[in-house]
């Protein structure tokens, strides 16, 4: 298929277009929401633009996830080397136990340490986001067969070269799956972060819930749901790209 046609046939593409279109069109839907919910005033969230809310939330999630990915992969690399072997079990245990902690609780507990605003949300997202990344990166690095590593070392590669050119590329799809989980949870938790002062697409939802204004809840909910879905679809596509050709799913 030629490239433009392939783009048009991709669900990721048109979901992304729908999301951006709604993000831009939402401020102009006042008449529509007024007709559906005559009692609600204002019919559209107006304290900040939806684009501004989206950019703020995307920035929070991106900052937290990028930091968590860098540190998470570093931890996984350390505990899968001979020097860090001892710490592998405890890193794995921390990642598993930590994930049983409810994200909303982690967020709430970050507030006393950091105060209101975007900071507790970024830190909670970072801490919670580390766990699936560490877990998956350890699993991914350990699925690289020993024979492959030995062959690479036999070709004269140094330890760092084996890691950078063989192990990490082979583990990449599994690591990316961990980052995907982390980002999905991050978007959801960042939405709740508006209760502790972060500016996100969740802000209209909570304003609407507090003032019993259903249109505001809907506007925030639709946009944040689409944001999460588009992001997840983009990760799914990236995962397919990274999988080595011919490898089984």
């Amino acid at each position: 298929m030629p490239r433009p046609l392939r783009l048009a046939a991709s669900p990721l593409w048109w979901t992304a277009v729908l999301f951006v279109a709604l993000l831009l069109a939402m401020p102009h839907t006042g008449a529509l929401f007024h007709a559906a919910f005559p009692a609600a005033k204002p019919p559209v969230y107006a304290r900040a633009s939806f684009v501004e809310l989206f950019l703020s939330q995307a920035g929070i999630v991106a900052t937290a996830s990028a930091t968590a990915s860098a540190l998470g992969i570093a931890v996984a690399v350390f505990v899968t080397r001979p020097a860090g072997r001892d710490f592998r079990a405890i890193a794995d245990a921390l990642a598993t136990i930590g994930q049983t902690f409810p994200p909303a609780a982690v967020l709430a507990l970050a507030v006393p340490a950091l105060g209101f605003g975007p900071r507790p949300t970024v830190v909670a997202l970072f801490l919670y986001g580390l766990l699936p990344i560490v877990e998956n990166a350890i699993a991914g690095l350990e699925t690289v067969p020993g024979a492959v590593r030995e062959a690479a070392a036999g070709m004269g590669m140094t330890g760092w070269q084996v890691l950078a050119r063989v192990e990490l590329p082979l583990a990449a799809p599994v690591i990316l799956a961990g980052i995907r989980v982390s980002v999905t949870i991050g978007i959801g938790t960042a939405t709740i972060g508006s209760t502790v002062g972060a500016l996100t697409l969740g802000t209209p939802i909570f304003d609407g819930l507090a003032g019993n204004k259903v249109p505001l809840v809907l506007q925030g909910a639709i946009l944040v749901a689409l944001f999460a879905i588009v992001t997840d679809m983009a990760f799914a596509r990236l995962e397919r790209r990274l999988r080595p050709p011919g490898a089984a799913r």
């Binding site: 136990i97 709740i192 909910a221 639709i222």
Partner: protein
């Protein structure tokens, strides 16, 4: 709560022949630094103001500090001996003792500080306490892991520590802590919130099993349905919880208006109805996925053998496929239960009640210990559910 991976005791000794428990040593160091850094507890003029950090020795006195230091040194000493199974048990036992000692010290610190302060003053647990307690708990876990202790031993150790903490709490040891005072002033609603939380989880997980298991069977039997089922369930799982709650408000309030009988039953845009529906929708994916995975993981030759023995399709399903797929399903149930316990916290935001009421109520009032009163039981619930269902899956696999 199990530690997975190769047991470290299988490794060869290091070049110098000295093979200490580096994790226990690291954890002792982390705990010691956290306590030495001050801020074991904090003292605030009232419950809504953040306090100033108070060091362990200033709050609980020199003898308590020395006792903690001694246990920590003993733990480090044991950790430095040659690796044997007994060492791992000794590390776990000493770490458990250290954990209880840290809790005792916190109670003493709170009582002594509160005694010399005005009645409105609050003593909260500080970073030093939390880090030291977490380090001790991790050392217990790692010791048990290295000793290759079974689920029963782990359960006994966990129950013994829990019983010790419960006895201290019942004996009033923690009464001066702000957390205990929050509990005392919310005692009447705490039980209701806890029951409500468990009811929300059970009321969501059970229907999710009833719907998700047939969906999983369908996905496994009809490959064409599989793609559609998992695409929809995966999409639902991606949507942030508060957005799904919000999206359900409109259809449910419309339904309540259209059918007043349903409204009298409690169906409405706000409350338990949207919460339970959303929690069920979230729970469907892990249930259906693990059902399908469990069924498709069965060797076709086993089913063929059963057929050759003259079993009917129904018998094959109930006597062969269900028992073989059950461990995988229970593993999915663990994911679902832990996930639902966490998501039910958020449900408090749409008026569904539960422990989330304390979490968000505490956030609203800026009362940290009220947040903890909601968050700690939630975390404990999740950890207990995780342990029990993991043990159940392991028992079924045998």
């Amino acid at each position: 709560m199990t530690l997975s991976g190769a047991p470290a005791r299988c490794r060869a000794s290091s070049a110098f022949g000295w093979n200490p428990d580096r994790i226990a040593l690291a954890l002792v160091a982390v705990g010691a630094i956290a306590v030495a850094g001050g801020g074991f507890v904090s003292l605030a003029p009232n419950r809504l103001v953040s306090g100033r950090p108070v060091a362990l020795w200033a709050a609980a006195g020199i003898p308590a500090t020395a006792a903690l230091a001694l246990i920590g040194l003993a733990l480090a000493g044991i950790a430095a001996t040659p690796p044997r199974r007994m060492r791992h048990y000794a590390v776990a036992a000493l770490a458990a003792l250290l954990l209880i000692a840290v809790l005792l010290a916190a109670g003493t610190a709170a009582r002594d500080l509160a005694a010399g302060a005005p009645p409105l003053a609050r003593v909260s647990l500080g970073a030093g306490f939390w880090i030291a307690a977490a380090a001790a708990a991790l050392a217990v876990l790692d010791g048990l892991q290295r000793a290759d202790a079974g689920n029963f031993v782990r359960f006994l150790v966990g129950a013994a520590i829990a019983a010790a903490i419960a006895a201290m709490a019942a004996g009033g040891w923690f009464d001066a802590l702000s957390l205990a005072r929050e509990y005392a002033s919310h005692r009447a609603v705490f039980g209701t919130a806890l029951t409500r939380h468990v009811a929300l989880v059970a009321g969501s997980v059970l229907p999710a099993i009833l719907i998700g298991v047939p969906l999983g069977i369908l996905a496994c039997r009809r490959k064409r349905a599989e793609g559609a089922i998992f695409a929809v369930l995966n999409l639902l799982q991606t949507i942030p919880s508060i957005a799904l709650f919000g999206l359900l408000i409109v259809p449910l309030s419309a339904l309540a208006v259209a059918a007043p009988a349903l409204a009298r039953l409690g169906v409405g845009g706000i409350g338990a109805a949207p919460a339970v529906i959303a929690l069920i929708l979230y729970a469907l994916l892990p249930v259906a996925r693990n059902t399908a995975a469990g069924l498709s993981g069965i060797e076709p030759t086993i089913v063929d053998a059963a057929r050759g023995m003259g079993m009917t399709e129904r018998q094959i399903f109930w006597r062969v496929e269900v028992p073989l797929a059950l461990p995988v399903l229970v593993a999915g149930l663990r994911i679902v239960t832990v996930q639902t316990i966490g998501l039910a916290v958020v449900a408090a935001l749409i008026g569904a009640g539960g422990l989330g009421d304390f979490v968000f109520g505490g956030l609203g009032q800026d009362a940290t210990d009220l947040v903890l009163l909601g968050a700690l039981p939630t975390i404990l619930l999740a950890l207990v559910a995780d342990f029990l269902l993991k043990a159940a899956a392991a028992a079924l696999r045998r």
